[in-house]
């Protein structure tokens, strides 16, 4: 055989370094998602006033979705030894959430096309254009709520896998399940927006704790089983 197992650049990483890589990509997701969320204006007027910021925020949010796709793949690898089928279902929920979220971001791009273009301002008056822009932004936000429901199920399943795993603290699993259940409130966006802080804070805490644990502590190696095919 041409390549020896240990000498190959593709030799298996230790489970602990795999967990660290997952934590690092997860951290990148956090940073880009928070930065994107902070700088992205929410109303048509703000978009007009801070177009450059809006564009950078859009790009950052998209990068955060890309990171989440990678986190999804890494979670599947991490947890398939616990339950292959649950890990796969979790991954699929997350992928659908990522796709819905990214598709919803298309609504955010349309305002940039609409505002400040003579071909639209000549047929619609300013208030009509602003209303149109606001409608597109609101539709984008609605799509975000749909994505959150899928991420809620993802969090619940990941929480279950953590709880069962034996190689991560059970409390992290419990936190993820609670966070996931709360995200499900976005089934009714008005309700969720009413209690927004109570939904977002546990979600943030649970994912932050999991991310930091993976990044800093990794996983308990002796408990992680090999990888079934």
């Amino acid at each position: 055989m041409e390549r020896t197992l240990q000498g190959s650049p593709l030799s298996p990483l230790s489970p602990r370094s795999r967990a660290r890589i997952t934590g690092a990509v997860y951290l990148l997701f956090f940073l880009t998602a928070i930065a994107g969320g902070v700088v992205t204006p929410g109303t048509a007027k703000e978009v007009v006033a801070h177009e450059a910021l809006f564009r950078v925020g859009f790009a950052l949010s998209l990068v955060s979705t890309v990171c989440y796709v990678a986190v999804t793949a890494l979670f599947y690898q991490l947890f398939r030894s616990v339950s292959r089928s649950v890990a796969l279902v979790a991954a699929f929920f997350s992928l659908v959430g990522c796709a819905v979220g990214a598709a919803g971001s298309l609504f955010q791009l349309a305002p940039l096309v609409v505002i400040g273009d003579a071909q639209y301002s000549s047929v619609f008056d300013v208030t009509q254009l602003q209303a149109l822009t606001q409608m597109l932004l609101d539709l984008g936000a609605q799509t975000g709520s749909i994505a959150l429901v899928f991420f809620g199920v993802f969090d619940i399943l990941i929480g279950y896998l953590i709880f069962k795993s034996g190689f991560l603290p059970r409390i992290l699993g419990v936190l993820m399940v609670i966070a996931g259940v709360l995200w499900l409130i976005f089934l009714s966006p008005p309700l969720a927006n009413h209690f927004l802080i109570f939904v977002e804070v546990p979600g943030f805490v649970a994912e932050l704790a999991l991310m930091l644990w993976l990044l800093i502590k990794g996983i308990r190696v002796e408990k992680e089983l090999g990888e079934p095919a």
């Binding site: 990068v63 890309v66 047929v123 090999g226």
Partner: protein, 247 residues
Amino acid sequence: MRWIAEASPRQLARIAGGLYLIVILGGAFAIGYVPGTIVVPGDPAATFHNIQAHELLYRLGLVAHITILACNVPLALIFWDLFKVVNRRLALLVVFFTLVGTAVEGAGLINQFVPVVLLDGHYSAALTTAQLQALSYIPIDSLEAGYAVSTVFFGFYGLALGYLVFRSTFLPRWVGVLLAIGAVGYLTYGFAIFISPGFAGNLVPYVQLPSLLGEGSFCLWLLIAGVNVQRWKENASTAASRLEWAR
């Protein structure tokens, strides 16, 4: 369907090459030729008129687009089968990026249905012709930015795929390098559209050449040469012993 389940790596590679060829040719028609013929940049009235006059061509573009998106799904599965022997984690990432990119691109197609819906006459009582034309032009105007969203996912797909091809030993390394260069082109163009559309306009068409070269050579290599089965099997047995070792 039994022949698919039992297909050899070489047959899988040939099927993938065929699907990829459909994707490239269909993409050139749906994303290049049809909008190039119908859309008049900056002129909603002329664009609206062209869609009315060439509705069949416009709809054929949509058919081609949906077809290539449908081809992406089995393509992802075949790439998983071919490349999981090289690196499972990256092969999974290739599949996931393909699925999300395809879903986003498919959702974006709704944009292109807006003009045909607005054309059917139900709306002319409430809106003036100029307003209808402007409303149909918004989605057309947003198309490029919409593609850019899926382009970002396909850019990362290309990087992962390029690395897998480069490492594979059963496909030529230069094809992997070309795929990765093409992916960098995709990412550059995608992010340029978000951050500075004017700059992105200057990049066309040069930025599209590397991806055509990369994906074109990959597609033709799979279709004509397939994969080196001997090397693929060596990879597979290494991967199997690695799994054994990890256990």
